[in-house]
């Protein structure tokens, strides 16, 4: 099965019908219908039903549809999951995950709902969000805590507040969480997305930050405004040289398979499984950008 691209995840306020019905047209790889930070305490019940109905009635095409529920430590989280789970989103983003237990609580809920609703087992993914020092401390375990986890995220605002750092536009204070999230994701064999760049009008700043995290190895980024989608996609779009090289690698592998030769080399370098996987990924990104 073709692996999903997760270059961008657009946050959509869960109490805004206009944004919810149009969320799928902006071209992001995923949308996150937000019941948490974007919704005031008085409107949690309203947003929950709005999002449930949207999931059941609106066709979002190939866009991955995620719902960010409230934490189970709030009065709202369990009701969110109970109602939203039955509407079968593609995944649930869980805020403020700190321990494996947090994941297991969600997993038990989802197991039950999937069984009761006769959904395919593990079809609803869990997307943990790390937002505290303890969460980061436990991230290696959290990333492996469930088969449902395919990607992890972090929340820069809450995390920096928790560790007592100063939140800046430049983001140097995030160096540790970024590298650790990346490491944890790769060890667990899953993807990792960067946190949002909140300065919506500063496109150059967004591009700089995205280029940096792409270089580090991140798979994508959360965005909070449709205008941020195209610039992030452009950063994740391979250059012509990268595409050409990827094509040559895939061709070389196919030739090697035909001739049943073992190890192959290209341009004097060994081409092994990770290199091939990366080449396939490059071509996936190229195709998504309309370049193939």
């Amino acid at each position: 099965m073709k692996k999903r691209l997760r270059r961008t995840a657009l946050y959509v306020p869960g109490n805004d019908p206009s944004m919810i019905q149009n969320a799928g047209i902006f071209g992001s790889d995923a949308i996150v219908l937000d019941l948490e930070d974007a919704v005031s305490v008085n409107e949690k019940d309203a947003a929950r039903l709005l999002v449930r109905n949207a999931l059941k009635n609106i066709n979002y095409g190939n866009t991955e549809v995620i719902v960010r529920i409230n934490s189970f430590f709030t009065p709202f989280g369990k009701d969110d999951l109970e109602i939203i789970g039955r509407a079968h989103p593609d995944g649930i983003r869980v805020p403020k995950v700190e321990t494996i237990q947090d994941i297991q609580n969600i997993e038990k809920f989802l197991d039950r709902i999937e069984a009761e609703e006769k959904f395919e087992k593990n079809s609803i993914k869990i997307l943990p969000s790390i937002e505290s020092a303890l969460g980061l401390f436990n991230v290696f375990e959290i990333a492996k805590a469930s088969q449902r986890i395919e990607v992890i995220n972090f929340g820069a605002e809450d995390y920096t507040a928790d560790i007592g750092a100063e939140r800046t536009k430049e983001g140097k204070e995030l160096f540790d969480i970024r590298t650790r999230m990346l490491l944890a994701a790769r060890v667990a064999g899953i993807e990792v997305q960067d946190s949002v760049f909140a300065h919506v009008r500063d496109t150059e700043g967004l591009i700089r930050e995205t280029q940096f995290i792409k270089q580090l190895g991140f798979d994508g980024k959360s965005v909070i405004h449709p205008s941020q989608i195209l610039p992030v996609h452009q950063v994740f779009t391979p250059s012509q040289e990268e595409i050409a090289r990827a094509k040559r690698i895939i061709f070389a592998i196919k030739e090697a398979e035909k001739k049943k030769s073992g190890v192959i080399s290209l341009d004097g370098r060994m081409v092994d499984a990770p290199v091939v996987a990366k080449a396939r990924r490059v071509l996936d990104y190229a195709q998504a950008a309309g370049l193939l």
Partner: protein
């Protein structure tokens, strides 16, 4: 009988006479002479300045049943239509036909003149409240809707005879030279008034800015003007031109605008000599900006931008992205200033712009045009006149003219307006026929008219994904549910005249 696009058209309409049905956008060959006027003259000592409007209309011989005309260059700041009609009502005149080039919310007093019997029919254009009145049966004679080009054609062919043309003139001299670029009520181009000036029996210019003779530059020359009346104010500047029109910030409309720019590029038309028209709405302005960016990137220079001119087009002219601008209507202060200062910014009449029956109008040279719609159907027929409840709310503008003339006609619109689907199975009223409409761009997909295989191939090559228009309307209905059809009586209250004088559709009274 059914006309060429399958709309039911009667052979004859009471109050209008025999009807020629639409036979195709390019099928009519005109076979009449240009209208003629008796030669009139002014003695050497005769003064044209009349001290008040009442005296001027009396001198012009106003009578019951006449046809009077107005231009709409003062847009929603116009005082002249109300001024003239109020005066004619005071004089006890009845049964006038008015022939405005367009009407705006500021003209709401026309409704009281319809109710009183001063105005018994309208030819040209209607707007909100007046359209609604006609939809509910206020007129005995159906409203005749014409496009800018079609109106000019009808006047020049003698089908629409104007007895008195009232021309609001931002600047005038005492001998009747007029322009629109100076004065407290400056509006820029006077393009829509020019045909009236040349063909009406009598022409009265109304100005709030009288200058010493001779006025310069001259948009409408003295040889066409009978009388000049000076008043305090012909309009409100705030309603005439906008400060600065802004491109849309709405993310959904920006998606549409970006797609339109990609379509234009993929069509292969974006090269030196490119010509282009877009409106003044937020989406159109965004398209204009994106196209300008592409042209700058590619280092190409267009031949002209045309139509209603905004500051964005003026900027393109200044940046040498266009050789010239053809201005039939100036939308904002930048456009007015540019018309005044820049010799490459040219004023054009409605006839020059869009009359299909002259030796070649500007729309014939248009490469691409971006237009809107209230509805568009599976045959790419476009409706701009009636809304989903069947009520007549809008005039035609230049829609059918530019659609027919341009090499690439793009309809740019959201799929829905509120809960109302814009892409439908069958439009309620046909304004522009599908054969002249090439591409539909919505936020949920792009559809190309099947009769444009050349475009389909080009877009496939450019990897632009396309949808069937039927699938787009289904997507719309999936979101909104299937709307109830409006219900009409048999009575015809409006006639949509195609630019060549044939009737493309009729509008009936809503139940």
């Amino acid at each position: 009988m059914k006309n060429k696009i399958g709309r039911e058209i009667p052979d004859e309409i009471k109050g209008i006479g025999k009807i020629k049905p639409f036979m195709g956008a390019f099928s009519t060959i005109p076979s009449c002479d240009r209208m003629s006027l008796p030669i009139t003259f002014k003695n050497r000592d005769e003064k044209k300045i009349i001290s008040n409007l009442k005296e001027a209309v009396k001198k012009a011989g106003i009578k019951d049943g006449m046809t009077v005309s107005f231009h709409h260059h003062l847009r929603n700041g116009d005082y002249v239509v109300a001024m003239v009609l109020d005066l004619l009502a005071d004089l006890g005149i009845k049964n006038l036909t008015i022939a405005p080039t367009a009407l705006f919310p500021v003209h709401k007093s026309v409704t009281k003149h319809i109710e009183s019997g001063l105005v018994s029919s309208i030819q040209g254009s209607v707007n909100g409240p007046i359209g609604a009145l006609s939809s509910h049966g206020a007129f005995d004679v159906p409203v005749i809707l014409r496009s800018h080009g079609g109106r000019a054609r009808a006047i020049e062919a003698g089908e629409l005879k104007i007895d008195i043309a009232f021309i609001a003139a931002p600047s005038a001299d005492q001998y009747g030279n007029l322009n629109g670029i100076e004065g407290p009520s400056a509006c820029g181009s006077l393009g829509y008034a020019m045909t009236d000036a040349m063909c009406a029996d009598k022409v009265i210019a109304i100005t709030d800015h009288l200058v010493d003779y001779p006025l310069f530059p001259i948009s409408i020359p003295q040889i066409y003007v009978d009388y000049v009346v000076q008043v305090d104010k012909i309009g409100d500047p705030k309603g005439i031109t906008s400060g600065t029109l802004e491109i849309t910030k709405n993310p959904l409309r920006l998606v549409i605008a970006r797609r339109v720019a990609e379509i234009i590029e993929a069509s292969g038309l974006l090269k030196n000599g490119f010509s282009f028209q877009a409106g003044a709405g937020g989406t159109s302005l965004a398209v204009t900006q994106f196209v300008a960016e592409k042209m700058t990137e590619m280092g190409i220079r267009g031949s002209f931008g045309s139509g209603g001119i905004t500051g964005y087009f003026v900027k393109m002219l200044k940046e040498n992205l266009f050789k010239s601008l053809f201005d039939v209507q100036s939308f904002d202060l930048e456009a007015v200033q540019s018309l005044k200062d820049n010799p490459n910014h040219l004023e054009m009449s409605a006839s020059f712009y869009a009359n299909p029956h002259n030796r070649g109008c500007v729309v014939n040279n248009l490469d691409a045009v971006i237009l809107g719609a209230t509805q568009i159907d599976h045959h790419f027929n476009v409706n701009v006149n009636t809304e989903s409840d069947g009520v007549l709310l809008h005039g035609i503008g230049g829609h059918m003219d530019t659609a027919a003339g341009a090499k690439l006609t793009i309809i740019a619109t959201p799929l829905l307006r509120g809960r109302i689907p814009i892409v439908v199975d069958k439009v309620i009223t046909v304004t522009s026929p599908g054969e002249t409409v090439d591409v539909l761009v919505t936020e949920r997909g792009i559809a190309v008219n099947p009769n444009r295989k050349d475009l389909i191939d080009k877009f496939k090559e450019a990897k632009i994904s396309l949808k069937n228009i039927q699938d787009l309307s289904k997507e719309a209905y999936d979101l909104t549910g299937i709307p109830e059809e409006p219900r009409f009586t048999e009575k015809i209250i409006g006639m949509v005249e195609y630019r060549d004088g044939t009737v493309i559709d009729v509008i009936r009274q809503v139940k």
